[in-house]
C-alpha cells in the first residue's frame, strides 16, 4: 500500500511540473506588455527597459521559468502588480472562503445526489426513477450562474429573506459562524450544489442499476435475504465510486467557482481571479491559477488513494 502511494505521488510530480509550465507560459501568451498596468502610458523606452530588468522579463524564457519555479517551490508567488501585496496572502484568505462554500455545496450535492440516484436506480423505470432522473438532468443542464440569478430574484429581491451578495453584513469580509454571516452562504451554496447533485445522481443511478443486475444479488435474493440486507450490499458496492466522484466534484467546484462568486460577489478565489483578469494583474492571475490547479491535482491524488484503500477489488499496480 505504501509502495503504491509512493508510486502514485511520483507519477504526479511531472504533471505538477507541467501545470507550473503552463501557468508560466500563460503570462507570456498574454498579448501586450506584462507591465502595461504599472507603467504610465508615456513611459520612455529607457524606463521600460529598466522595469523589465527589475522584474527579470529581459532574461531568456527558460531562465525566467527556472527562477520563477525556484521561488514558487519556496512558497513565494510574487506580488500583485496592482496592490503590491504578496499574492499568497491575498490568495489564502480568498481560498478559505471558496473552500468553505465549495465544501458545503459538495456536501449538499452529495446528499441529494446519492438520494436521487439511489432511489432512481432502485426503482428503475418507474415514475420515481423518471422524476429523480429529471432532477439529475436539470442539474447537469442548468447554467448555474443563471440559477443563482433566479434564486436572488426570488429569495433576495421578491421575498427579501436572504441577502443577494457578499459574505457578511455591510460588506465585511471577516467570517464568523453566526446567522448574520451564514445567511450569506445559503444562496451561493445551494446554487453551487446543483452541479454535483446532477452528476452524482446520474453516477449513482447507473451504479445501483448495474449492481442490482449482477448475479450475486439474485443469489442473495434466492437465499432469502431481505430488501434491507440487499440494500446494504448495494451501498457497500457503490460507495467507493460515489465518494470518488464527490471528491473530483469538490475539485471542479473549487476551480470553477468564478461564475458563482461573480454572481454573488462572494470574496473567494474565483472573484479574485476575475479581478486579476480584468485588471490585468498577471502575477495574481498566474498564482491563483497555479494554486487552484495544484489543489485539483492533489485532490485527484487523494481521491485515487482513498478509492484504492476503500475498494480492495482495484488492483494496486
Amino acid at each position: 500500500m505504501l509502495l503504491y502511494c509512493a508510486k502514485r505521488v511520483l507519477l504526479t510530480l511531472p504533471i505538477m511540473l507541467g501545470v507550473a509550465l503552463f501557468c508560466f507560459l500563460l503570462v507570456h501568451m498574454a498579448p501586450g506588455d506584462p507591465l502595461v498596468s504599472v507603467l504610465p502610458p508615456d513611459a520612455t523606452a529607457e524606463i521600460k527597459a529598466q522595469m523589465m530588468a527589475v522584474y527579470g522579463f529581459d532574461r531568456p524564457y527558460h531562465e525566467q521559468f527556472l527562477r520563477w519555479l525556484a521561488r514558487v517551490v519556496q512558497g513565494d508567488l510574487g506580488s500583485s502588480i496592482r496592490t503590491g501585496r504578496p499574492v499568497w496572502g491575498e490568495l489564502s484568505k480568498a481560498l478559505g472562503n471558496t473552500l468553505m462554500l465549495a465544501t458545503l455545496a459538495t456536501a449538499i450535492g452529495f446528499v441529494l445526489g446519492t438520494l436521487f440516484g439511489f432511489v432512481a436506480g432502485y426503482f428503475r423505470d418507474t415514475w420515481i426513477d423518471k422524476t429523480a432522473s429529471a432532477m439529475a438532468v436539470f442539474g447537469v443542464s442548468v447554467p448555474h450562474y443563471w440559477l443563482g440569478m433566479l434564486l436572488v430574484i426570488v429569495f433576495a429581491v421578491q421575498l427579501g429573506w436572504l441577502p443577494p451578495t457578499g459574505a457578511g453584513p455591510g460588506g465585511s469580509d471577516a467570517w464568523a459562524w453566526d446567522w448574520a454571516h451564514v445567511r450569506h452562504l445559503i444562496l451561493p451554496a445551494i446554487t453551487m450544489s446543483v452541479i454535483p447533485m446532477g452528476i452524482i445522481a446520474r453516477t449513482v443511478r447507473a451504479l445501483v442499476a448495474e449492481i442490482l443486475s449482477q448475479e450475486f444479488v439474485a443469489g442473495l435474493r434466492a437465499k432469502g435475504m431481505s430488501g434491507a440486507g440487499i440494500l446494504r450490499h448495494v451501498v457497500k458496492n457503490a460507495a467507493p465510486t460515489a465518494l470518488a466522484v464527490m471528491g473530483i466534484q469538490l475539485g471542479y467546484l473549487l476551480g470553477g467557482s468564478i461564475l458563482i462568486e461573480t454572481v454573488f460577489s462572494w470574496p473567494g478565489s474565483g472573484l479574485l481571479l476575475n479581478d486579476a483578469i480584468f485588471q490585468r494583474d498577471l502575477p495574481l492571475l498566474q498564482g491563483t491559477i497555479l494554486v487552484l490547479a495544484l489543489f485539483f491535482v492533489m485532490l485527484n491524488l487523494a481521491v485515487d488513494v482513498m478509492q484504492t484503500t476503500l475498494d480492495p477489488r482495484i488492483k494496486r499496480t
Partner: protein
Amino acid sequence: MPAHALGAEHDSPPAPAAIVRSPGYWSTVLRRFLRDPVAVCAACVVLALIAMAVLAPWISPHDPLHGMALKRLRPIGTDGHPLGTDELGRDMLSRLIHGARISLVMGIVPVLLALTIGSAIGVVAGYVGGWTNAVLMRTMDVLFAFPSVLLAVALAGALGPGLFNSLLALTVVFVPPIARVAESVTTGVRGRDYVEAARASGAGALTIIVRHVLGNVLGPIFVYAMSLIAVAMILASGLSFLGLGVKPPQPDWGLMLNTLRTALYTQPLLCALPGLMIFVTSISFNLMTDGLRSAMDIKA
C-alpha cells in the same frame, strides 16, 4: 477490402465502447431513437433552435442592435415588443433570436474543432505508441489537470476577451478528453487481427488508420462529443457572462444575462429570459444525446 470484411465478422466481439459496423446498424439506431419520445422532442427543439439561428435576420421583428433611449427596459408584453426591451431599449425578442447564432456557434464549433484535433492526437498516439504516445498523452494529462472552467477562464483571460479567443480557449478545454477516448479506443483496435491482416497484405499506416481505425473510433467519440455540446454551451455563455466572450453590442445570451443584471430589481422576469434560452438549449442537447446513447447501446 476482403481482409477487413472477413476479420470484422469473425473476431470482433462487440467491446462496450467500440462500434461494430454491420449492415443496418445506423438504421437500427435511428429506429430505436425514434421510439423514445423525450429524445425526439429534444431533437425537434434542437432543430428549431438551429432553424431560428439560421433564419434570424428574416424572422426577428426588429434590428437587434437598434436601441431606443426612450423605450428602455419595457416589461414583457409591451405593444410591439412582445418580450420587452433591454437596458438600452433594444427589442428583446430580436436579440434572443439573433443570440442563438453566436450561442450555438460557441457551443458547437469548439466541440467540432476539438473532435478533429483531439481524435487526430488520440489516433496518432494510440496507433504509433511508444514515445509519441507518451509525449502526446502526458501533455493531455497536464491540460486534464485543470478543472474545465478554470482552464477556459485562464486561457480566455490571458488571451483577452473576444469571440475568437474564447473559441480557442474552449477548444483547448475539450481536446484532452476527446484525445483520451480516441487513444484508448485506438489502442484497443490496433491489436485486432484485421488490422494485423491489413498490414500483412501491404496496407500503409495511413490506409490502416483511415479504413480500419477511424471507422471504429469515430462512433464512440462522436457520441461523446455530442454530450460535450451542452457543457460547451454553458461554459461559453459563462465566459460571455464574465465579459470574456463576444464584445457588446453583439447579441449573445451569456452577455445579455450579464448586462441585464443591472435590471435585476426592476425587471426580474426580463433578466431571466436569456438564461432560459441557454437552459432550454443545453437540456435539449443533453436529452437528445441521452436518447442517442441508449439507442446505440444495442446489447441492452
